[in-house]
Symmetry: C3
Subunit: 120 residues, 3 copies
Amino acid sequence: MQTNKINLLETYLSLYISPMQVLNATKKGDSDYVVLDIRNAPSQIKQDQIAGAIAMPAKDLPAHLDALDKAKTYVVYDWNGGTILGKQALLILLKAGFKAFELAGALEGWKGMKLPVEAV
Amino acid sequence: MQTNKINLLETYLSLYISPMQVLNATKKGDSDYVVLDIRNAPSQIKQDQIAGAIAMPAKDLPAHLDALDKAKTYVVYDWNGGTILGKQALLILLKAGFKAFELAGALEGWKGMKLPVEAV
Amino acid sequence: MQTNKINLLETYLSLYISPMQVLNATKKGDSDYVVLDIRNAPSQIKQDQIAGAIAMPAKDLPAHLDALDKAKTYVVYDWNGGTILGKQALLILLKAGFKAFELAGALEGWKGMKLPVEAV
């Protein structure tokens, strides 16, 4: 059972990337990381997003895979860590062969750490 | 590792049902879906619940399995997506041979989407 | 798929311990349970913690494993159940051979149940 626990934790945690890793990567000019805001909500509900993120609602993601770049690493995020939308988007990306992670703590955690956001 | 990630995501996501699927299913008169509010809290703490839900606290669930119907699909929800009570209830139901899902986003997500609730 | 779901739920839930189990265990004088507050935040941000918890930020945990006791059972918690920090700390402890759980519902759930906290 101990092995099962460790295997589950290792695989689960391998789905995520930390806010600081994302921040450090996207600070550089030509980053290999692209942050996708996958919230299924209009701008007036979203109000703001992670600075530099691209709006790519999870519901639209399957139809837009051709526009993505296999050389990049995609980081998806939803409102908070209690939803499954990030995992749904991540599954779509991984199954299509993209490098991708979900942002640990989601937008709520990012804002809680006072990291940069921008109006949408 | 990619395969492990995809397998974990697929199994994890298969535990969940989205609010819109639940709403559409329960809108019909004789729905096959039954929503169970599994919060272990008295009414004065709960105050409201998903419209049409049945109060079935997780702690009482094992003793009430006989009252459930194998022809139905049960949807369980707790306060928010950061608890484990929904998964505990879901495990009880699945092990007893019922069709069941946890509501993605839980009550918090349902309310955030302004979906119908009712006083308890 | 039903078996996969049940296996995943059982392993996932085995990572957690409930607030009431922790409360009952730590109420006794010489408890075998030690609660670790693994939040990576200074005291002025944390403000309070679970009564009797030991501050052990997740980032410092790998360097402090020698100070832990294999006879004890460690319970880690972060701000809320939507983060991955608790799982990261748990993985470190389990891989090092310690008995450990994550607190179900995290600090947010503990406070929501009005369980005892103390200033830090």
